[in-house]
Amino acid sequence: MATKNKLGDLMINGFGTASGGEFDQVSINGKGTVNGDLQCHFFECNGSGAVNGDIKSEIVKISGNAKINGKVYTTDLKVEGRGVIKGNVLMSKMVISGTSFVDGNVKGEELKVQGKIVVDGDCEVEAFKAEGQFKVEGLLSAETIEIYTYGESRAKEIGGQTIKVKEKSNFLLNLLKTVKSVQLEADLIEGDHITLENTKAKVVRGNQIIIGQNCEIDLVEYKETFKTEKNGYVKESKQI
């Protein structure tokens, strides 16, 4: 065990346990546990780490496997490995290329999903971009929402200004489609400009709506324009 506490850095290489506090850099490289709240400039977990408390750090980078039993406040959050966060996440920018589970709400400026994210609460950001899989149990809300359907994605409600869902296809995905659905599913989608592909939704409401290929919508309510393209299927539509 090597727990060094020099110049305000906390490093756990190998097995180690430390208590929280204020640091410049915190780095967990082996199997480390931190008991208590952490406040630092840079947090990184390359091995298997657990933090039993909140993290307040300018940069949070999870490349290994991290479990945070608390909240995370940061300007820059990167998950390249597997991150489990039990509390809320407040960030400016969040990029998920690994897998991430958040039990609370996610709030911030920008969220980019290239891997997989599961949010049990609401996800409210300014710009949301997904090229992977996501699941939001509450409301997914953003100024601009851009989704490329690569895997099975789901949100209970989606709301924002511009909502765009595009279907991606390549050989492997087409193969996968025969055994598994790779659609976006939502109960309710509301926005000003909505363009959907490969989406299954109960209700879609907005000003300008385009329903594209492989869509299955029960009800569309629109204010200005509405059209369907290719094999987009809409059971019922009405202008309000």
């Binding site: 709030k107 950001v125 709301g159 200004q161 309710l188 409401r205």
Partner: protein, 207 residues
């Protein structure tokens, strides 16, 4: 305390705001989470809002967003209060409180040179009640005591202050959640004041 609800669709029609704006304001906490009331209807779930509060809030946002950024607006509507400290002269200068009410307050609490937001709010409420002529000075002390003992920042955000009177005997109470209250026949409810509204009014004056 009347729960008159309006559906999201009707609200957007009535106020001619867009979905994008509504969601943006929600994200910025300009509209509190607990105003979004979900109810199941025949088309599935729909969202409803308390009509009067919502219309008032939207009007305020629309009239003020020209001068203030959304973040500044959010600060104003948030129940948490910033770090404000004012001395008695400034309070008078900004017309938050009148000289006579301030003197009464100082006579009651002793000489205070610096007023925190909490105290300014107390003063503001006292001023409001006394100036409206609905309560007298002696009753003002009662209001102060209730506010002083039971007002806690953050927790009292949705509280209401009630002032009642029966056969000349008056009493004052604070209700923390908006449930219906029922009084005895002869009781007259003199004032119902929402702490949140007062906080907002006061903040807009302090800005």
């Amino acid at each position: 305390m009347i729960n008159d609800l309006i559906s999201k669709k009707d609200l957007l029609d009535l106020t001619s705001i867009s979905y994008g704006q509504l969601y943006r304001w929600k994200r910025k906490n300009l509209i509190p989470e607990d105003w979004f009331i979900r109810k199941s209807t025949f088309t599935g779930q729909e969202t409803f809002f308390p009509k009067e509060k919502m219309l008032e809030r939207i009007e305020k946002i629309q009239s003020m967003k020209e001068n203030l950024s959304l973040d500044e607006l959010a600060d104003m509507f948030s129940p948490s209060v910033g770090d404000v400290r004012l001395n008695p002269d400034e309070l008078l200068k900004r017309n938050i409180v009148s000289k006579s009410v301030l003197d009464f307050y100082l006579a009651h609490y002793g000489d205070i040179q610096e007023f925190t937001f909490e105290r300014i709010l107390e003063l503001y409420i006292l001023e409001k009640l006394l100036q409206s002529g609905e309560i007298n000075l002696e009753e003002g002390k009662m209001v102060l005591q209730v506010l002083n003992d039971h007002y806690k920042e953050g927790q009292s955000a949705h509280s209401q202050l009630l002032f009642i009177r029966k056969l000349g005997i008056s009493s004052c109470l604070m209700v923390s959640n908006e449930e219906s209250l029922h009084f005895e026949k002869g009781t007259r409810v003199v004032v119902v004041l929402s702490i949140a509204t007062c906080t907002e009014e006061l903040k807009s004056r302090l800005l």
